[in-house]
Symmetry: D4
Subunit: 154 residues, 8 copies
Amino acid sequence: MTKIQAPKIGIIIGSRSDLPVIEKAEKQLKEFGIAYDVTSASAHRTPKNVENYAKTAEQKYDLIIAAAGMAAALPGAVAAHTTLPVIGIPIHSKGLGGHDALFSIVQMPPGVPVATVAIDGARNAAVLAAQILALKYPQLKAKLKKFKAKLAHA
Amino acid sequence: MTKIQAPKIGIIIGSRSDLPVIEKAEKQLKEFGIAYDVTSASAHRTPKNVENYAKTAEQKYDLIIAAAGMAAALPGAVAAHTTLPVIGIPIHSKGLGGHDALFSIVQMPPGVPVATVAIDGARNAAVLAAQILALKYPQLKAKLKKFKAKLAHA
Amino acid sequence: MTKIQAPKIGIIIGSRSDLPVIEKAEKQLKEFGIAYDVTSASAHRTPKNVENYAKTAEQKYDLIIAAAGMAAALPGAVAAHTTLPVIGIPIHSKGLGGHDALFSIVQMPPGVPVATVAIDGARNAAVLAAQILALKYPQLKAKLKKFKAKLAHA
Amino acid sequence: MTKIQAPKIGIIIGSRSDLPVIEKAEKQLKEFGIAYDVTSASAHRTPKNVENYAKTAEQKYDLIIAAAGMAAALPGAVAAHTTLPVIGIPIHSKGLGGHDALFSIVQMPPGVPVATVAIDGARNAAVLAAQILALKYPQLKAKLKKFKAKLAHA
Amino acid sequence: MTKIQAPKIGIIIGSRSDLPVIEKAEKQLKEFGIAYDVTSASAHRTPKNVENYAKTAEQKYDLIIAAAGMAAALPGAVAAHTTLPVIGIPIHSKGLGGHDALFSIVQMPPGVPVATVAIDGARNAAVLAAQILALKYPQLKAKLKKFKAKLAHA
Amino acid sequence: MTKIQAPKIGIIIGSRSDLPVIEKAEKQLKEFGIAYDVTSASAHRTPKNVENYAKTAEQKYDLIIAAAGMAAALPGAVAAHTTLPVIGIPIHSKGLGGHDALFSIVQMPPGVPVATVAIDGARNAAVLAAQILALKYPQLKAKLKKFKAKLAHA
Amino acid sequence: MTKIQAPKIGIIIGSRSDLPVIEKAEKQLKEFGIAYDVTSASAHRTPKNVENYAKTAEQKYDLIIAAAGMAAALPGAVAAHTTLPVIGIPIHSKGLGGHDALFSIVQMPPGVPVATVAIDGARNAAVLAAQILALKYPQLKAKLKKFKAKLAHA
Amino acid sequence: MTKIQAPKIGIIIGSRSDLPVIEKAEKQLKEFGIAYDVTSASAHRTPKNVENYAKTAEQKYDLIIAAAGMAAALPGAVAAHTTLPVIGIPIHSKGLGGHDALFSIVQMPPGVPVATVAIDGARNAAVLAAQILALKYPQLKAKLKKFKAKLAHA
């Protein structure tokens, strides 16, 4: 069982070129004071890294955010190897405009869910992460309420 | 702050006619031993009920599962009034085959996420719920691991 | 019952950043000499504001124009709280190119309609508004006929 | 200018075979006590009938409900010849599942709007019609409020 | 019956702003030595002009090319009033990227066809026109064969 | 140059299993008194037959109607080898519901058009064929006018 | 390096319930005299099995056929762990009608291709497999030529 | 039977303007040391060239890569005339964003498969080609393993 005392999130992307997509997630997590680290590993090019990442995730993270485009197997590949909640961010791309990534991430088979947010919805991935972590870390609850109040005045 | 000692989930559907859609979620939650209740309230026909449900949800629930079809505003309407995690199930319907419900649920604006699962993905809504609740209720962790092991032998 | 003597329309948008979308509606309403005001309130970030707006709309407006993108719940959220006619404008966005907003606005459940116009169809929202108001304010009828005649020579 | 004393709606369909689609609109209009008649005329097969219908509509109707499938030109063809509000109902069909009718009805060019409701959304066409007519016939306002209250208890 | 001695085509567009779309049709018709004229009339803004155009088309034209975007009713509206062949060009637009115009033009109801070419396929509209006219004007046959031979060496 | 004295149409389908799709075309051609024959040849399984069919078509036919589903290359493959007008009928199939056949037939490259009608629009293929042939065979003009008049009373 | 003397194919499906989908592939492989076995393993429920299957595939198979529906990660997950050619069959399902499986299988990232065939295109997966294996096993070439000749007479 | 001693691939594109699309395929093939040549021939404009190319391909090539946009008949037209494996690359274009090319290439009828890769997926076409050729040319196996190892460190 996890020994984590403070909330910690693992963000995983398929390629360093996806870093700009998750910037808003990082910014939002910082605002919530939630620690995170970012790993680049590909479900198709470095599946072993993804597997190892997912299998050891429980020792390090409370939950995982995974962003991917096109066939977008990464969130599901992580979910396959962990019972931590996995939040998936479909990344917009030319061609099919994100339909491909959205369908690939959200249409998971029974037993292995991915909590999917909007196309390029990195900020919401962070907010959803905070909502989930607040179940375990009560101090986040207050931050979320402040955040929600601030939203109302943005 | 919530005083809940045992995990408790609120399931909300827009209409009694959606009950068959969530049967698999109910069955799965029972298997995990997670308590839940089912409420029928519509974001468009009984918005006040939805609002009251969402606003008082924190006293009763750890998280909310909301299922809806077509314009499918219910999950987002619940999310608007709570900082609990909200899991959304898009319901398949004729006409646009679930494209409408999926897009209406997953494409939430920044600040108010809905954790979207597959079209008619009620069972996964329950599994995702258990994964999230396991952060707070350690006894669920073991059940999830058994569940995952059993999946592998189904 | 409303005491309004001159036609008055409420335009509501989810965010100040949507102002450019409704400019053509404003221009057209001015041409028809129809008074309006613009409110920014979000179905997801400030649902209470939307509710209050919709519930008091009858004292102030003859009808409401609501524009929204992505999950686009705003028009339906307004319609949920009023019996005034609500005209919905789906806003184009990257990702799904407006499919999401269109489906979210037009696919309303039985009992709570939104009169949907084209993606980014702000000008037509204003024309439709004038056509509706002309039922009550006969002076608009003549303006509409002139407008239609002018269309034919544009 | 119209001399109509009681609310009156014209429903137009492209073919007698579309009658089942509008049954829910008829039932709802009867509940509201709104008179209507049903005309069958096709924008493509009997365009002159549609034109005559639309041009004389003002003497007979307060607004028009037009239902059509596939290329679904009927609502727009009616709107082209009148300044009355026109409500369009896209009819589901095999092949493209209603995408075709929806796009053909909602994507009207600037100047000639059609108030589009959901695919096969005949009941909502009637409710929208009542909301619009209530601007002119105050007695409908009370009926709509009762209807909305009843919706909340369905 | 038509008295036309040399091939003559009517090109109709919904608005002067569509002129660039048909440039390639014009260029190709000139290469084939086929006379044409271009008319701007809108199925929705100037339906009477479209009707008159279509009804008198037989005295002037052998066939008609109609280009339109969005709800794209123009080709069908012309076809409704003539038994001449009508070729339809769906025009690409933002929002739905031409899906709307394509579906609106191609999905015509039984009895009133429109010969639809590719989105923005103006050049092919002209080639198809020449192929059709060659049935009546044998001199075009040779030109088409040369054209086809040249295509093979482009 | 063709020596055909009476109108003659070649109908080509990719497989005998597509015969039911073209029944309405056959019925309509018979009503117009237009001779036709039906050939089964596949652009992918018997391309040489398609090529021979298309290359000799001018001696036998005034125009060709080609129906195909899925990748639906047949109409284009015929058009590649003839300068006769080719009318394409996209056939509905499960999976992508006719989107695939429609896109494959209508999106032809510059120089080689296919006159596309609605998904499963066999009757309209026949009507379009008659409209085209009427340019060459004046007796068809009267039949088309009667047909159009009858349409108006159906 | 593989020691395989006779062609051998591995077919993998995500679940026993997909067996009917691959029946046509089995029948076709038998006709070609190509040995195969069928394995059921899920990219999401039994990823380790998929990994082991893929990693040891080279000792047993010349190529792999993988069929999957919805998020359809299986073909890509196999491809991630082998340099054997992987043929992917998207399986049709309700909801999104196969769009989801098709996009999830075909839109693979650079470096890890899946050779995708039509939705439910199991027979073609077998034919493609035979075409590929014929490069290594010359006896298959003659069978393919006979098959192609027979196709032409079906 | 082919006499080829070293791997050789034929790349075919519909038009010289598609050359940039296949650059990544060329670069990748060079990295693998696989010889190739590029031919431009159109299934619709120069079908005879495509046929000749495909029919003689066996003497020259081990497999064929075909790239095409819009109706994208080229890969299937090649596959119709050869039993070599054909890899198809759907090319993105405006209008339908590659949906058209993807559906036209992947939805091949039973008996004549095309191994389809992602929209604009030229690099993967080359990788898939190498995977297929490795069955015949063992030296490629080692290169593919190095390539896969390098992918993992990119």
